[in-house]
Amino acid sequence: MQELINRAKELLESGEVARVLGWKAGDLPYNPEPAYFEKAEDLKDFVYNGFCGANLSKYMIEASKLEGKTMVCLKPCDTYSFNQLIKEHRVDREKAYIVGVGCKGKLDIEKAKKLGIKGIESVSGAEMTDDCDTLTFQTIYGEKSVAYADVMLERCHVCKGKEHQVYDEIIGESKDTKDAERFAEVEKIEAMSPEEKFAYFQSELSKCIRCNACRNVCPACSCRKCVFDSTKFDSAQKANVDSFEEKMFHVIRAFHVAGRCTDCGECSRVCPQGIPLHLFNRKFIKDINEFYGEYQAGEDTDSRAPLTNYTFEDVEPSIVTERG
């Protein structure tokens, strides 16, 4: 972290960047939040640790409009989102100084809580300096240690790899934390009967309180005006009054980001109700892979995405219909 702060200081002082986009400590030991730093002395609040899950690439949409360059800290998986935003002309590559920050898996405090860890006063082992094997919590009930991997975000178990897809320099080591099949959960749902599927999504989606956190955090949901906020469409103004509407919100959102979603997992990370929203997107990704060949959104900035392209090898619609 110190190396990162030093470099940020240098860049700010030399005037090469006008601001630094990173994280600062939150009010609890495990909830750092995205933050801008415009002066070198402000960097004393800068943090980077295992709890810095937030994908900062979406902030660059607004930062691209500001004067001067922004130094932005992107983890390997965040760089996919950034590339995708370049492809969609939503961020300006020239306005970003990308520091690829090391990542050895990010943490999900809810998982720790589920393991019975409560009254957390401080955490050690999340500094990303070592191998990130053990996480130790000082709690009001005493010290508790857990395996780091047991508290990792779901998305880190299906890690896309330790390589940054776009960067100006890299600071810190990364580790591929993949230890699960990416589509295992999707396959489980695919195996359900239509009735079971409906019941499953009904029960998950009925938890939705329409806080819009998933949409607001999603780098693919970058529309200037969301259809759900616009008076131009009948989808606006609808309160969460019936079960139909809440389903439609997530289904429409999944369609809107289909083929553009990099599977960054932010939607599920921020959902206060713990809905596994990423499953919708991952189903689309799985289908795209199967129908059109392996495709990872954000791997590059200029290829034609399968859903907005046509080749003679494309599957016939009837095959898609048959498969469901």
Partner: protein, 662 residues
Amino acid sequence: MQRIGVFVCHCGSNIAATVDVKKVVEMAAKEPGVVHAEDYQYMCSEAGQAKIAAAIKEKNLTGIVVCSCSPRMHENTFRGAAERAGLNPYMVEIANIREHCSWIHKDVEEATKKAVILARAAIAKVNLNTPLKPGESRVTKRALVIGGGIAGIQTALDIADAGYEVDIVEKTPSIGGRMSQLDKTFPTLDCSACILTPKMVEAAAHEKITIYTYSEVEKVSGFVGDFTVDIKKKARYVDANKCTGCGVCQEKCPSKKSLSEFNRGLNTRSAIYTPFAQAIPNVPVIDTEACIKMKTGKCGICSKVCQAGAVDYEQKDEIITEKYGAIVVATGFDTIKLDNYDEYAYNQSKDVITSLELERVMNAAGPTKGHLERLSDGKHPKEMVFIQCVGSRCADNRGKSYCSKICCMYTAKHAMLIRDKYPDVNVTVFYIDVRTPGKNFDEFYRRAVEDYGVNYIKGQVGKVIPQPDGKLLVQGVDLLDNKQILKEADMVVLATAIEPNPDVRKIATMLTASIDTNNFLTESHAKLRPVESPTAGVFLSGVCQGPKDIPETVAQAGAAAVKAIGLLAKDKLLTNPCTAKADELLCNGCSTCANVCPYGAISYEEKEVNDHGIRETRRIAVVNSALCQGCGACTVACPSGAMDLQGFSNRQIIAEVDAICR
């Protein structure tokens, strides 16, 4: 608020027999915005149109809904009537209560209910319609014909004779197509080459016709009147300007083992070759896969013997980009592969051949110099069996469901020619039905039976079994006699089903022209627009549209030419005003719409916008309305809903759906 008039047509009894039209009038009158509703026996008649005009004027209507037949039938009629009465033609909506309702339902109560709903949806839409004005686009006075068989040649000649430039693109090294492979033609038995060659020569010599052989269409963009086409001219490795067509290179070429495409693989050709003697152009091509020079770098004999110095091993493929006002597809057909028909032993015995192969066997320039002989041992056959409908009229999925149409006639032709030339050969034909409608066709078939003694057996063949002595045991059935037949034959000829040239799928996709499940190109209207593709500016000629014989093909080729000429004769075309438009304040500038646009109609501008007081420069999609065809692909791809189609806006369509679900 609109002032809407609703006009319900009886269409004689077509609608009125199944739909209670009075009830539709009564219900429509209650819809929001409707100030006038009436019914009439024939709305499309002059009197019906007069009623519409009168109501528009008297009631100051701002929009009308006509509940009648399909808009494909009479939308233009009613738009015209509205325009003459002073109403913008795009304020007219059609509720299709005939094809979508009365024709497909029997129950009057149910059908009436549905008709009311369809009317309601159209009224909901017209409430949101806005007047639109068509633009104009230019017409490039040049036509492209894809395919250089008899269909393509005839179309090109007719267009060229009318004074317009025509380009023919032919995939193979020569024009001529399937007809050039035929020996004789029914029902007159004149030599195919004798009647085709003059046409080929005429096309080649015509000052208005340019022929690109050994070439393929690579890319098509644009729209009716203004297509831009990339043509890939494959390298021949022979300079057409220098080559004299002397043929020495082909004689001296040491690589002579490639199967001759022209002779259907029944004999071989050299690596440098012209497909047949009358080929146009009479310029050989080098088959790079067979050429020793190309494969090993050593040889070069053709180059050494060429007096004209025409051989050029360095020649490259060339892309020619040309603009066209009209495109005619004439891609023709091939016979189906017989892999699904192992029972006929086609792949096991050289003496089981397709009819097209028999054409080559009978032809003086063919593999046997025109002598009828078994391909296995060169012996003269005594017993010949013809099997009809191999892959045609097929009930299972092995072959084609349709009748290939030409087989009954060419088999009668083959049978007659064989009996005439070799009276010692017995000819038996197994058939399901003999179908010979056409001028002088049935007489032709009768002649085969009555004058030439061809033995026709109604029934199918179950199996052809090659015997150790080289004979073929044909196991069939005689349905009229109700008995099994076992017959020894020396040769078996399969009347193999024809199918559209497989390349047509690629071409149809490039042209956005629709094809049916059998890969035949779809005509715009089965009866009234048989040579037009539903895609404006694209016309159909020959078997690519459906099975047909030479006279029919030539007739259709002429018809396609006339339609193309009708288009080329215009200086300007009115463009459809139902084009896409981006809402500047909603557009993200993400390029998704431009990626999906098949017409290249969308570009981007850095534009200053005022978004509720926020002034900023944004990347915004701009639609070129002259290029936009209103397909709507962008409107569904746009994630923010900024793209909308004028005349078919998202709100209008949702309003229709809401009206239906109400």
